[in-house]
């Protein structure tokens, strides 16, 4: 899988690259409009992470360029601006997703995987993990042939942990992903715990384990 990061902030770029490389993607990175334009003109990528606020040009122009060249690279717009206009224009121009900064790494991985899944496995989108087979299309989970029933939140948590398997998912990232951005001002994320408990109970016979990382979050491990 080839991923291109277009990001002008070197530290941001470095962190994203490191995190993505741990997933064994081939990561390339550029930090200005000109070299980004050259790159996407020459190569195709499975997913492009595009910061639209570049010092020497608007990232949205790169989207237009992609469209004109008929390239169908998956694009996730990464922006510090979180403006509705940019989001709409971006999605109109063919971007797959819009991720406002600051974001959690777990969220970035989830979005990247979703894009990759949509691009690369047309029709056949099941995920096999441990002894589970997940079908994101119709939100069903099967364990050794028999179906496991999860409610909406449990399924969302499971999917999020699965896309971030073997990585630490912080409580904040999980809460924001499953319960929405607006959950943020709550006293604590203790209420997540009861959902995790239910999930663990249902996964008792699975070869997956939801590990708690002290005070920080959770990690899905495959036995």
């Amino acid at each position: 899988m080839k991923i291109l990061i277009i990001e002008d902030e070197p530290q941001m770029l470095d962190t994203m690259r490191q995190s993505l490389e741990r997933e064994h993607y081939t990561v390339e990175a550029v930090s200005d409009f000109k070299s980004a334009s050259d790159k996407i003109g020459t190569y195709t990528y499975d997913c492009i992470l595009l910061d639209i606020g570049l010092p020497d040009g608007n990232g949205l122009e790169l989207l237009k360029q992609l469209k004109e060249q008929g390239h169908e690279d998956g694009v996730i717009i990464v922006s510090a601006k979180d403006s509705l206009d940019d989001r709409l224009t971006g999605l109109d121009l063919g971007a797959d997703d819009y991720l406002p900064k600051p974001f959690h790494m777990a969220e970035l991985h989830a979005r990247v995987k979703a894009v990759l899944r949509r691009r690369n496995f047309d029709g056949n989108t099941t995920i096999e993990i441990g002894n589970l087979i997940i079908n994101p299309e119709n939100r069903t989970v099967k364990m050794e042939g028999s179906e496991l029933v999860f409610n909406r939140k449990e399924y969302d948590i499971l999917m999020y942990l699965v896309t971030n398997k073997n990585r630490l998912v912080t409580k904040t990232a999980l809460a924001e992903h499953v319960w929405g951005d607006h959950i943020d001002q709550s006293d604590s994320f203790d209420f997540i715990y009861s959902q995790i408990k239910n999930l663990r109970k249902k996964l008792e016979k699975a070869t997956l384990k939801v590990e708690a990382v002290y005070g920080v979050g959770y990690k899905l491990e495959i036995e």
Binding site: M12, P102, H104, A173, S186, V213, Y214, G215
Partner: protein, 426 residues
């Protein structure tokens, strides 16, 4: 009290005093004049009497001390008396037939000599009735006073109103002025120097305030934007660090505290950005939103949190509540109010949401102390012991309500009630 009538009030008071003083002085001056002319008349009468006595000596002995027949009387006196006699004028009362009452008369006493005979001469004349005079004067003065006040009021209201028109024009505009709406004032021209000075000063003041308001708004927006990237880097670096290192529980605990604070900072920053976006009118798209449907959708998100606090949402709706509002902002508005009730609500208590055709109300039990109505919607107003709240939630709700002419207010009736009044659509 309006300025016009305010001056009239003082004028009326001053006029009353002035007129009273003037009336007293006038009364005495007039009385003095009357006496003077009466006395002159009496003296003239005396000369006429003396002349008549020369022609007809009988009048000297008519002996009419009660003035029954004539208005004069001669009494014989000794020479010594004559020499020591002092002329006098005095007032006395006499029965008047026409009035059937005792009325004041003026008596003039003098001494005259005819050869060796000496006489005391008394002449009377009818006098002005002082009590009648006073009574009439008060009546006329009251009339004058009323007339004056009426004309002042009329003059004020016609003339002054015209003169002060630019002033009232300015005041009306100032009353409707909202700095966040960024509307310019229509400053009227006036040929009165003071008004022009006032107008230009107000104009300058408003332009300056608007400028600093806008620059402050931009500053907040820019600052928040600039903070996003360093925040993102810090959070992501920490996440990466947590993933790639095997850390002890103590280390994890510290790092998680750092993460929590960074998230707090992120939330704060997002809220500030949202506030300035609302104020900068960056949410222009509007749709008709059904508040009941929206409430149910949001409550679904908060179910788990409520269950964790052993709280329950009880929604009752009576009629449909719809309003034209930006969808995202409607979500933020209701979310913030619901979240507020949830965060500050007491454990094991219900949160009641009531929806009627003109209002949306949320009621939660919490501390039994009423919040300060004035500052409850201010930015960074936090109740104590709520480290994790940004103190912006209600300020944002208020900003959104203001933008869409909804009225958001708070009251305390044993429970904390936040109520959103929706204007009836045309």
């Amino acid at each position: 009290m309006r300025l016009l009538n305010y001056t009239t009030k003082y004028l009326a008071f001053v006029l009353l005093i002035l007129l009273t003083i003037w009336a007293v002085i006038f009364y005495f001056a007039m009385l003095d004049e009357i006496y003077d002319s009466l006395d002159d008349g009496l003296e003239n009468q005396k000369l006429l009497m003396v002349q008549r006595a020369g022609d007809d000596a009988s009048i000297l002995t008519q002996n009419d001390p009660e003035f029954k027949k004539h208005i004069y009387n001669f009494t014989s006196i000794s020479k010594a008396n004559y020499q020591n006699f002092e002329e006098s004028y005095r007032d006395t009362l006499m029965y008047m037939r026409n009035e059937k009452d005792y009325e004041p008369v003026r008596i003039y006493e003098s001494a005259v000599a005819f050869g060796d005979d000496h006489y005391k001469l008394k002449i009377i004349t009818s006098m002005v009735e002082v009590d009648d005079l006073v009574e009439h004067m008060i009546l006329y003065l009251a009339g004058l006073y009323t007339l004056l006040i009426i004309s002042i009021l009329l003059l004020n209201n016609l003339l002054l109103r015209r003169i002060w028109r630019p002033f009232y024009h300015l005041i009306t505009q100032l009353k409707n002025f909202r700095i966040e709406k960024n509307t310019a004032l229509l400053i009227p021209e006036s040929n009165i120097e003071e008004f022009n000075l006032l107008n230009t000063t107000v104009d300058r003041l408003i332009k300056k305030s608007t400028e600093s308001y806008i620059s402050q708004k931009h500053f907040i927006e820019n600052a928040s934007h600039e903070l996003q990237t360093p925040l993102a880097i810090s959070i992501n670096k920490l996440e990466l660090f947590l993933e790639t290192n095997d850390l002890s529980d103590a280390q994890l605990k510290n790092l998680s505290a750092v993460m929590d604070n960074l998230s707090k900072l992120t939330r704060l920053n997002k809220s500030l950005l949202l506030l300035s976006k609302i104020e900068n009118h960056q949410f222009e798209e509007e749709a008709t939103i059904d508040f009941r449907t929206l409430t149910e959708k949001i409550l679904a998100d908060f179910e788990d949190m409520a269950a964790h606090k052993k709280m329950r949402f009880v929604t009752s709706s009576n009629g449909t509540l719809k309003h034209t509002i930006n969808n995202d902002l409607a979500v933020v508005l209701l979310t913030n109010l619901i979240k507020n009730a949830l965060v500050h609500g007491k454990k094991n208590e219900d949160i009641q949401i009531k929806i009627t055709s003109d209002r949306w109300q949320i009621r939660n039990f919490g501390s039994m102390v009423e919040l300060d109505k004035k500052s409850v919607f201010s930015r960074f107003k936090k109740s104590t012991g709520r480290e994790n709240s940004t103190g912006l939630g209600l300020a944002i709700a208020k900003a959104i309500s203001d933008k869409y002419s909804l009225t958001l207010h708070y009251r305390f009736e044993g429970a904390h009630i936040f109520e959103l009044l929706v204007p009836v659509s045309k």
